[in-house]
């Protein structure tokens, strides 16, 4: 059965996650920095009255920081009780992925992606990385000494 996925781009690469885990997408107008939070946490944003933390996908994937633009999106996802956001360069597409096109990632990708990529899907000529959303959001608590 084909599963609906949300596609987004980070540093030119396409990623995807199941649409069922996505609550909504918001344009990004800046986040309130939280001192002492892990460095990949961009900060707090307010989404429909809720205050949620946003993880910067570039920082999380170890990519060079990018400029935020009108295309920047916060993909708001649900992780059990938690509602968290992932800041990406753009997110425009929703696609049904055929499970037969989804393959385990090559070992090199596994290694370099710190386990954030759990599968690779072939969409026509494009390769799309399926992210492990819980792992990307992580549970690492703040640095204990409050230093960045």
């Amino acid at each position: 059965m084909n599963v609906l996925h949300v596609l987004f781009k980070v540093d030119g690469t396409e990623y995807a996650m199941p649409a069922a885990d996505v609550v909504q997408m918001e344009s990004f107008t800046g986040a309130t920095p939280v001192p002492g939070a892990p460095s990949h946490v961009a900060g707090l944003v307010q989404v429909r009255g809720r205050v949620i933390p946003v993880v910067d996908a570039r920082a999380r994937f170890g990519l060079p920081p990018g400029k935020h633009s009108l295309d920047s999106r916060v993909v708001v996802g649900q992780l059990g009780e938690r509602t968290v956001g992932l800041l990406v360069d753009s997110a425009r597409e929703v696609l049904k992925l055929d499970p037969r096109t989804i393959q385990p990632p090559p070992p090199m990708v596994v290694e370099r992606a710190k386990g954030f990529v759990k599968a690779v899907a072939q969409v026509g000529p494009r390769l799309v990385m399926l992210i492990d959303f819980p792992r990307v959001m992580g549970e690492e608590t703040a640095d204990v000494d409050g230093q960045r």
């Binding site: 939280v34 707090l44 009255g49 205050v51 968290v84 608590t141 204990v144 409050g146 230093q147």
Partner: protein, 695 residues
């Protein structure tokens, strides 16, 4: 009006009591009006209304508020007559009674505001006085066919004339008048069958006229039983089922053989009562008394707040203790037992906190009890037919949330009636019922939030008209439409109306729900079919009086209670000891106070902004008992904020108590400066999170 010491002393209790009575009276009056419109009697509501006014009159004469006494007096007088007439009121009498209640309410508000109650309007008093004779005129003519009650079964002497009339009236109308005896027992109580639940269950099957407790022989061997006298159309099985079956008994109150010489029910000689084996206990179970007692206690909110403040102090102290123990542990002291006690202590504090929060919960149903009256008023002013459905169940809300939420709901209900619902003719033309529906439902969600839906079956929001009024393109999504509706000052009306004023005022609703309460507001609307607003609000909020300031280009807030002093920092007079890594010293009343750069603590570097000099103000906070100054750029003011704790592990950090919305849509951090300084000063693993007391 006297301003004696006694008056001032009794005023708060008087106001609280009268408020409650007024709310009950309004409810009852609506029930009476409803019955009057159907041409039916509503003896229970009339009696309750009568009692409420009687009590209001009594209380008001005790504190010597003459205008209320005279208003209540004439209302009470006519209601007593109506009660004696079996709960019948002429339709024309409802309006003066409504006005009377309103006049009383206005005067109560005046008293609450410390003013003198204005005199009762003479014209209104005259109309209320005229009600009495009017009421008598509508008493039903003597029944042509006399239906007779089984006197013994009905405990004739215990029945008031109006109750007897109600039972007889039921029989004449072809209903059954029955006596249902319920025998309570421990097993039944375990099944949830007590006299109170039985009352509720039976009330669904018929009109309970009276409930009498029985003891001795009358109770049929049990030590205690209750006889419920009611009018009903239900059958024996349903009625017996409602009281849990045998040993409950049921018998008809109608005399079996009507041909027999009718025994006039009225005054049975006292001896006859004694001869009958009926021994009703002295104390009649009348509802109001039960309600008054009820194990309830009225407490001023300020006292609960005070308890909460003490608790907060306790929790702050506990974090200091935790830090001290951590320091001991680090120094190699045997602290295992101490740590265990501390953990236990933390749990106890959490339990205590939730217990205090529970004390502040009020029933949503009680909060909304004014809405039916509001809708009634709207019916009159708009000429629309409206039915208000409240489906609120047992949900509860924190008092602070409820107080803020009510105006938003009032606003939405007003809008629904005034703007959304069509006139009856228009509705019929559109194939709808002439009577419009406003439905308010709510249920608690697992996430500590309450969801309230307000639905109408009116014309729906006209996106084009809204776009035109807002001078904006027609929004593509319903969220976009709601954003437009919530623009301050938006109005789709040319004229102001008396009920909603000019415009929708949706910006106020959103401000309350989203900004003040940290909730969520959504809308669904379908042209011609109606609109539903969904409000999601937290069950509790933590309100904090906060100082808002700016540091390195960002706004922050800090609880006023933690700040000891605000000072100006003269850069020239700050002493910077060598090797102290940016730490400065300022002089305050002859003592040196360490000065920390908050900008540095927050790890922020922002370009200098014109007109804002850096670090020229400082907040003095106690950190482990010692004053420490935190340099900030600019003080922006003091305000009450809703503190939203940060629950997510990614952002639960020492020094940040939570976030708040200052109205700009961006979260603003609420700092715990003492903890922030400590986290940096100590740099130790597992340091406490002093922000936790607010989580």
């Amino acid at each position: 009006m006297t301003t004696s010491v006694e008056f001032a002393e009794f005023l708060p209790a008087y106001l609280a009591e009268v408020d409650e009575l007024l709310a009950a009276a309004q409810r009852d009056l609506l029930a009476v009006e409803e019955a009057v419109r159907r041409g039916a009697a509503q003896p229970r509501a009339v009696r309750e209304l009568f009692r409420a006014l009687h009590t209001i009159k009594g209380l008001s004469s005790m504190v010597d508020v003459e205008p209320i006494v005279s208003l209540a007096h004439w209302m009470e007088t006519s209601l007593r007559l109506a009660d004696q007439a079996g709960g019948r009121l002429p339709e024309s009498s409802v309006e003066p009674l409504v006005e009377g209640l309103r006049a009383i309410e206005q005067r109560v508000r005046q008293l609450a505001a410390g003013k003198t109650a204005s005199p009762a309007p003479v014209n209104l008093l005259e109309r209320l006085e005229a009600l009495g004779p009017h009421v008598l005129g509508t008493a039903p003519a003597a029944p042509t066919r006399r239906v007779v009650l089984d006197a013994e079964a009905a405990f004739a002497a215990k029945l008031a004339p109006s109750e007897r009339e109600q039972l007889e009236g039921g029989l004449q109308a072809g209903q059954r008048a029955v006596r249902l005896d319920f025998v309570p027992s421990a097993e039944r109580a375990a099944q949830g069958l007590t006299i109170n639940t039985v009352r509720e269950r039976v009330a669904k099957l018929g009109d309970i006229v009276k409930v009498l407790p029985l003891s001795g022989a009358a109770a049929g061997g049990a030590s205690l039983a209750f006889a419920l006298l009611l009018i009903t159309v239900s059958d024996d099985a349903a009625l017996l089922g409602a009281v849990g079956g045998a040993p409950a008994t049921l018998r008809s109150l109608a005399v079996n053989a009507p041909e027999e010489a009718p025994v006039p029910l009225a005054p049975l000689p006292a001896t006859a009562l004694l001869a009958s084996s009926v021994a009703a206990t002295e104390e009649e179970l009348e509802e109001p008394e039960v309600r008054r007692g009820g194990g309830l206690l009225r407490v001023e909110v300020s006292r609960l707040d005070e308890a909460m403040e003490w608790l907060a102090a306790l929790v702050v102290n506990r974090s200091r203790l935790t830090r001290a123990v951590a320091a001991l542990t680090a120094a190699g002291a045997p602290t295992r037992e101490l740590t265990a006690i501390l953990q236990e202590n933390g749990r106890q504090l959490r339990d205590l906190r939730s217990a205090i929060l529970r004390l502040r919960m009020v029933r949503v149903g009680d909060v909304l009890e004014r809405l039916p009256l509001l809708v009634r008023g709207l019916r009159r002013t708009t000429g629309k037919a409206v039915r208000l459905e409240l489906d609120v169940g047992d949900a509860e809300l924190d008092k602070a949330v409820a107080d803020r939420l009510l105006p938003a709901l009032v606003h939405l209900v007003r809008n629904a009636v005034d703007h959304a619902l069509e006139m009856p003719e228009e509705r019929v033309a559109a194939g709808k019922l002439p009577e419009g529906l406003v439905h308010l439902g709510c249920h608690a969600r697992s996430s500590g939030q309450l969801e309230i839906t307000l639905r109408d079956d009116g014309r729906g929001v006209d996106a084009k008209a809204v776009a035109k009024a807002a001078n904006a393109p027609v929004p593509e999504s319903v969220d976009g439409l709601l954003d437009l509706l919530c623009r301050p000052g938006l109005s789709t009306r040319q004229e102001a109306t008396s009920t909603s004023g000019r415009g929708m005022g949706m910006d106020i609703v959103r401000r309350i729900v989203v900004e003040q309460l940290g909730g969520e507001l959504r809308m669904e609307t379908r042209k011609g079919a109606g609109t539903t607003f969904t409000l999601r609000v937290p069950l509790t909020v933590t309100l904090v009086d906060a100082i808002v300031f700016e540091c390195a280009g960002l706004k922050y807030a800090v609880s006023v209670g933690t700040v000891e002093e605000l000072i100006d920092v003269d850069a020239l007079r700050v002493v910077r000891p060598a090797g102290a890594n940016g730490l400065g010293l300022v002089e305050r009343r002859g003592a040196a106070v360490p000065l920390l750069s908050l900008e540095q603590l927050l790890g922020r570097t922002a370009p200098a902004r014109e007109g804002v000099s850096r670090g020229t103000k400082a907040l003095i906070v106690r950190q482990r008992g010692e004053p420490v100054a935190f340099a900030v750029d600019r003080l922006l003011g003091q305000q009450e904020i809703v503190l939203r704790p940060l629950e997510d592990p990614l952002v639960r950090v020492p020094g940040v108590a939570g976030a708040t919305d200052l109205g700009d849509g961006q979260p603003t951090l609420v700092l715990d400066l003492g903890a922030l300084g400590a986290a940096h000063g100590v740099r130790r693993k597992g340091s406490a999170r002093p922000g936790e007391w607010v989580s």
